[in-house]
Amino acid sequence: MIKLRRIERFYPLAKAKFFYVLRDINIDIEEGEFVSIMGPSGAGKSSLLHILGMHDHGWSGEYFLGDTAVHHLKAKERAELRNEQIGFVFQQYHLLDDLTVYENLEIPLSYRKVNKSERAAVVADTLDRFQIVGKKDLYPSQLSGGQQQIVGVARAIISNPKLLLADEPTGNLHSSQGEEIMNLFKKLNADGTTIVQVTHSEKNAGYGNRIIQLRDGWIMKENNGC
């Protein structure tokens, strides 16, 4: 599903020097995989995730998503592809503070020009699926961290993406809440969603089937998880 070849990301420094964040990244991820990217701080994990999520455009190399050569796409085409195929879960949840749970779930659909009645049906299904119907009129500040992240995951998958990217999804949660989220991921993966997560936690990495270790921007090793 994902093929990365010779991906590099660097920032220019003074005197024509460069600071490399990612170097010569070559990764293949098959459909239905649950991959965890690990490594110490500054290893380039989040940078790699943002390249996969097409939030970052300043890289070089080749990136294929399915049959599409992302590296040949213009920014607008990448945004369309992202909207169609990718969902994102953030460590800080990044729910919109001024919107209710219902509105937070609705917003990705409105950006994809789904009509109002269809939006209502999909949001209602999702609220039901994640068992948060009772919270639909609450604002993020009225939810616990775990509940906020459940809404974050629900929002990420509401437009039915093929690929779910998660950046330290349990980083701000208690262990029990983290477990709940990881089980949710496991279930989504079992239902066919490809997942790539960045994590520091060996335990969370264990929920996936492959681990990619990064250090100083290089892939150190790849191994199967559990």
Partner: protein, 812 residues
């Protein structure tokens, strides 16, 4: 879109302080623009309220470069010979004393031809207009009341038609009531009525005048002004060409009176409001600058908020919002904000309608038409939308570029955004332009106010008197009345001196007379020099406080039958008698077209040049004084020099007049100081309004600077903390903040001064007694802006010095 609106309202509710401040600023900015535009729309842009108004023109005659009224015989010839107009009409201002119906009262009147109503295509509100035969025969002495007189004096009596009124001792019959919109068209010489406006109170046909010599004398250009309606498809240029041929034929046929006399035609709309056009656009420019500064201020506030909202926008982008969608949402917020400001602005403009009308010069035509109607609200909506784009687009653009990746890693800008600095520079520059304009206009006003008048305006009372022609037909009757009046008034306790002048000082119109110097080659008719003319009583100069320079003043024996004498001013003496003593020399005048002989007047005295009309504006015109007792004058101004407050003497002066003629109304009573002040009304209005707007601009610019600096201090807390921890003294921190502010303000002042100098040619004809690039004004403005900017920096700078380094570093 509904979701965007809902979210926009939610955002505004979330920051009530910002929302309130922005709405208030926008309300004031939009409000003053709408208010001034309502005046421009009603006075300048709206068509005259008559059918097919673009076909209406004003016609006058020209002699050399100057515009003159026409003569009645010339008008009759135009009317017959022209091919360009559906109809032509003429009017002449004269005033009426209404007696026999309670207190005698004086009204502003306009004599018009019957065609006047046809040209304007107005129907009377009640009754009829005049018949053509009433142009030449008095008939029943018909009169038509203006609507406001009918309502105010006769309580809108529906049976007014047929009512007999005694006007100027003649019994007249009311034949109709003119609709209110007729009063917009005024004769250039129309006097102020009792309300202080130049609106006409009543209309009379020329039949009243049928036997007056000037109705038949082609050279008597005594206040007749023409209007006409162009034929369909005929342009003003074609009409002008037609009239040019007529003028040429009249010149050939009547060389004595019409040599060098042309006929000028212009749009009636321009002739009614033309002189106010530039002042009104100047005011609109000033308020537009205030709105620009307001927009810059709100853009500043929005930019400051971008730091807070970057994450939200980045998340939206990460969730799939396109760039256009984000900009739309952010602009929706700006539009909602501007809409609320616009609503407040329109309300403020509506509430300030009466204030604007009262501030406007009373001479301003169509003042009563000022209203907030659909075009004004459309303008309000347009500038509201424009403002929202102006202040919203920049921040929306900037914010829509926020990327989650960058946001999550940003540690805050160490300096205010470049765009914030640019906006501050722009605000300061615009404020500088406005302040310079206000400074120049204020200095102009002060220069005019302090300009020497040539006489002492304090303790001087003016009272208008109009003798009815029938009763005071003979000059000897008039002379007797004036003599008796002056005797009685001079005897009143508290009166130092009294005199009469046929002119109304600072009344907005000055009569001029052609003359020639006896013994020098005579110029052709129309090319003779002219002088401001005054018929005065012997004590005039003592009453006015004008010290004669040479020769003698008029005496009580300078009367009819005695040698004709005049006094001249020093300007006339300098111009026409260089190196010679004018005393004993003579000036002469041709009395009428048919009279080829000339009347000679001996110069007996020279006086200083005196301002009788608008202060400062007029070119220097020579002045000639005639003794009133040698002429016939029905309308005059009684001038009374008093020991104390002039108006306290009004009742006893009224009694003195009534004791001579109980049927005589008095009018136009005001002190000379009031008259002088009123003549500066337009300048005062411009200086006051633009001064007010520039203070508002200064306040807004200071507020903007304060906001940006306060934000900058917050953003730089860590840096300031490190500096303090490294040993920077508090003064160093002060300097850090103030230096940055002064750099922005300095650039703003530089740009503003350059702009103000660039605008110099535009403001040139608004200033008097001061150069449009007056260095003193520019330096004062720069100093004021710098001082205000320093004040605006003090609080943020002080806050910066109080940063606790440990706290600041821990917070990072």
């Amino acid at each position: 879109m509904v979701a965007d609106l809902k979210f926009a309202f939610r955002q505004l509710r979330k920051s009530p302080g910002f929302t309130l401040a922005a709405i208030l600023m926008l309300g004031v900015g939009i409000g003053i623009n709408v208010a001034i535009y309502s005046v421009i729309n009603s006075v300048l842009l709206s068509e005259l309220p008559y059918p097919e108004p673009d076909r209406l023109v004003a016609i006058s005659e020209t002699i050399g470069d100057s515009t003159w009224p026409t003569s009645y015989p010339d008008y009759l010839d135009w009317k017959t010979a022209q091919h360009s107009f559906d109809d032509v009409a003429v009017s002449r201002r004269d005033d009426f004393n209404l007696t026999g119906n309670g207190e005698p009262e004086r009204f502003s009147g306009l004599f018009v031809t019957a065609s006047y109503f046809r040209v304007l295509k107005v129907s009377p509100k009640v009754g009829r207009t005049f018949f053509d035969e009433e142009d030449s025969a008095p008939g029943v002495n018909p009169i038509i009341l203006s609507e406001h007189l009918w309502r105010s004096r006769f309580a809108a009596d529906p049976t007014i038609v047929g009512r007999k009124l005694v006007l100027n001792t003649i019994s007249c019959e009311v034949v109709g009531v003119a609709s209110e919109n007729l009063s917009i068209i005024r004769n250039p010489e129309t006097a102020r009525n009792s309300q202080g406006t130049r609106n006409v109170d009543l209309y009379a046909p020329f039949g009243f005048y049928a036997n007056r010599p000037y109705m038949h004398d082609r050279s008597s250009r005594l206040g007749f002004y023409g209007i006409a309606r162009l034929k369909a498809g005929v342009s003003i240029e074609q009409a002008a060409a037609d009239l040019k041929v007529i003028a040429r034929n009249l010149e050939l046929k009547y060389p004595d009176s019409n040599t060098n006399v042309g006929i000028a035609v212009s749009s009636l709309h321009d002739s009614v409001i033309g002189q106010y056009r530039s002042m009104l656009w100047l005011l609109e420019t000033a308020v537009a600058l205030v709105l620009l500064i307001t927009c810059a201020n709100i853009a500043n506030l929005l930019l400051v908020r971008t730091a807070v909202r970057k994450k939200e926008i980045a998340v939206r982008a990460a969730l799939g919002a396109s760039w256009g969608r984000l900009v739309r949402q952010l602009l929706t917020e700006s539009v909602v904000l501007a809409f609320l400001g616009g609503v407040l602005g329109c309300l403020l403009a509506f509430w300030s309608k009466d204030l604007i009308a009262s501030l406007s010069p009373h001479d301003l035509p169509r003042l009563q038409e000022i209203r907030l109607d659909l075009p004004v609200f459309a303008f309000g909506a347009l500038i509201t939308l424009g403002a929202s784009l102006l202040f919203g687009l920049g921040p929306a653009w900037k914010l829509s570029k926020a990327e989650l990746n960058a946001v999550s890693k940003s540690v805050g800008d160490s300096h205010p955004h470049r765009s914030l600095s640019a906006l501050i520079i722009g605000q300061v520059a615009f404020a500088c332009v406005l302040l310079t304009g206000a400074g120049l206009l204020t200095r102009t006003f002060r220069a005019l106010e302090s300009e020497p008048l040539g006489f002492k305006p304090n303790h001087l009372l003016m009272v208008g008197i109009k003798l009815p022609g029938l009763k005071y037909h003979e000059p000897s009757d008039q002379a007797k009345f004036y003599e008796e009046l002056l005797e009685k008034v001079e005897r009143l306790p508290g009166v130092k001196a009294a005199a009469i002048d046929d002119d109304v000082p600072f009344g907005g119109f000055r009569s001029q007379e052609h003359f020639a110097v006896t013994g020098q080659p005579q110029s052709r008719y129309g090319e003779e020099p002219s002088a401001e003319a005054h018929c005065i009583s012997p004590d005039y100069f003592r009453t006015m406080g004008i010290p004669p320079l040479r020769g003698r003043s008029f005496r009580r024996d300078d009367v009819l039958g005695k040698p004709l004498v005049i006094m001249i001013d020093e300007e006339l003496a300098r111009k026409f008698f260089p190196g010679r003593d004018p005393i004993g020399q003579q000036l002469n005048q041709r009395i009428s077209e048919t009279d080829t002989s000339r009347t000679h007047y001996t110069i007996v005295g020279i006086v200083p040049s005196v301002k009788h009309g608008e202060v400062g504006i007029e070119p220097k015109i020579p002045q000639i004084y005639w003794p009133a007792a040698q002429f016939s004058w029905l309308q005059t101004t009684l001038l009374v020099r008093t020991e104390g407050e002039p108006t306290t003497l009004l009742p006893s002066i009224r009694t003195a007049i009534r004791s001579i003629d109980p049927q005589l109304p008095i009018f136009g009573t005001r002190t000379m100081e009031e008259a002088v002040a009123a003549s500066l009304g337009t300048q005062r209005l411009s200086a006051t309004l633009i001064g007010g707007f520039s203070i508002l601009a200064l306040f807004l610019a200071a507020l903007g600077l304060y906001g940006v600096l306060a934000y900058s201090v917050t953003q730089r807390t860590r840096e300031i903390g490190i500096r303090i921890a490294l040993g920077s003294p508090r003064s160093g921190i002060y300097g850090l903040i103030v230096r940055r502010a002064m750099m922005m303000v300095g650039l703003g002042i530089f740009a503003g001064v350059a702009l103000a100098i660039g605008c110099g040619p535009l403001i040139r004809h608004f200033v008097y007694g001061v150069a449009p690039y007056d260095p003193a004004t520019i330096i004062s403005v720069a100093a004021l802006l710098t001082a205000i900017a320093i004040l605006a920096c003090l609080l943020p700078a002080r806050r910066a010095t109080l940063v606790d380094p440990i706290q600041a570093l821990r917070s990072e």
